[in-house]
Assembly symmetry: C2
Homo-oligomer: 326 residues x 2
């Protein structure tokens, strides 16, 4: 059997088996980041590889690539509720790469590092045919948020509307600019919800994950890890993403439910702390939105016209097609 024939979960299982039950490990392989005990505090670590043409389109500026690579790693820390300590990057690129490209790439990394309080403390460079950036972020927390803490009866919240980044990627790919430049910028310069994550961990949220692969895909991971069913009652679609979707004849829910790269945090919490969470998040400039609730069972369901519809893994177009057949 070859790598292309097996899924990511199988590979993660292999890596998980390499991680034996070391007493220092609080959270091991399989969450947004891992957490290791260190003098009463937790050291939180995560790694992410971005390959040109796979994880970002060819042709975007080196500063934007650098920024996105940094945010991808920082967002994993945010989803754990950790504050960043430092960033490191291993960069592979062709020997023919212009020095200026490399300089700008690190400029973008540095810009994100400054905004999210994460100094760049190291890096490594090797020659390789395709541009690839492996980012490594380390942070700390007194308590971490995992994907596995959600319990039936709890609510689900989002740190903000979704769909803007994937609408921006769509606009970018279709040469749209001008009116939609703000959307494109949301894709190119996403924010890591670092302060929001820290607030959630301190205020008592029970689980969290960042919206990197798409709301439904990421919620499915959370549902699976927690052993619960997720009921989405409301999906806050980014206003401009909705406008864009209408202008290009797409369903805005497709961007919101299945588009990734928003890096908002989706989290669960006991009902009784909702007010407290709202207040705490408002203090860091974030208006949370309650989007649903946790039930016993499994899977991710969407409430449409007061009926529950299971959401598929294959995307919204697939969902709509199936719905239309009924």
């Amino acid at each position: 059997m070859r790598l292309r024939d097996i899924g990511e979960r199988k590979l993660i299982d292999i890596i998980r088996r390499a991680s034996w039950g070391h007493p220092r490990v609080e959270v091991g392989v399989g969450d947004d980041a891992a957490a290791v005990k260190n003098q009463g505090r937790l050291t939180v670590v995560t790694s992410d590889s971005l390959v040109e043409g796979v994880h970002f389109p060819s042709g975007i500026s080196p500063e934007d690539i650098g920024w996105r690579a940094a945010v991808a790693s920082l967002s994993d820390l945010a989803a754990m509720g950790a504050h960043p300590s430092a960033l490191l990057f291993c960069v592979l690129m062709p020997a023919s790469t212009e020095l200026e490209f490399f300089r700008k790439l690190f400029k973008g990394i540095q810009q994100a590092g400054r905004v999210f309080d994460a100094p760049v403390v190291g890096g490594d460079l090797a020659e390789h045919g395709t541009l690839c950036i492996s980012g490594f972020a380390v942070g700390y927390a007194d308590r971490v948020l995992t994907r596995s803490g959600a319990k039936p009866g709890e609510y689900i919240g989002l740190t903000g509307p979704v769909g803007a980044a994937s609408a921006g990627l769509h606009a970018l790919g279709h040469g749209e600019s001008g009116r939609w430049s703000k959307l494109v910028r949301t894709f190119l310069r996403p924010k890591a919800r670092v302060r929001e994550g820290e607030v959630l961990a301190r205020a008592g949220a029970s689980a969290a994950i960042d919206v990197s692969d798409g709301l439904v895909t990421d919620l499915r991971q959370l549902a699976r890890a927690s052993g619960v069913r997720i009921l989405l009652e409301r999906v806050p679609v980014h206003g401009l993403a909705r406008e864009y979707a209408e202008a290009v004849g797409k369903d805005p829910m497709d961007f919101a439910l299945f588009g990734g790269d928003d890096y908002e945090l989706v989290f669960t919490y006991p009902r009784k702390i909702e007010r407290k969470l709202e207040r705490a998040l408002r203090e860091v400039g974030c208006s949370m939105v309650r989007v649903g609730k946790i039930e016993k069972g499994k899977g991710v369901f969407l409430k449409v016209d007061d009926r529950l519809k299971p959401l598929p893994e294959l995307g919204y177009e697939h969902f709509k097609k199936r719905e239309n057949k009924r």
Copy 2:
């Protein structure tokens, strides 16, 4: 200007500029690892990329590749005097790679992690034409050893003889086995001097670096970072490497001075703590060897027949040729 036209130091300068003077950063870009303050302790982080055909020969077993990748990162922690907390690996490999290869690669990583008390807590996998492994190690220390702490008047020590790994690589490349299998194994399964590094940091060594690129190359980095001249008075060549060199008609000093991959630590220390260091290292099973001293000035010099010869960057063969011309 393109990447292939510029040296590693220039690239590190670019990365260093991306690392602004953050108050949490104790040691930034340019040492074996970086160190960030965390509640009175230091969090030590390092990254290393290994590319097939560049950093390791094609055809060695996946377990050995995994072990070597883990040790390369752990050795950087050792050179800082840090104890490992955790390891993460980003692996790029062709989609046609056998699943078994991936499994064995992580088995090798795990074996090294167990031996050196470093749980594997994460990893990422992406498709790419050539096998490439980016390793990240995080550790902790109360005090770190940098490359820049050496002072004139101090001694230089080594945690063990050098030359075995590069002799092993030579034997491997020339299809030699049987009698030299122990040398080959030294190359394929190097040790990270983790306990030795911790002992050195605690007992008051002033600087350290691991012998990864070759003794002279690594000493030159230390001399440059500390602003001192290094005088090598004695080079402990690994016994079997010496035998092998003689059997294949090579100069054993070439392996010892310019061969890398030994991962011994070379360190500097005030003369008055020599006994204390020896005793402390003996407790972790290590017999240190004093190899020279630090003077004012710059460069790395070798004492040959009571005369000082500057050691070139280009290797021992070059050094001998120049000597023979005189």
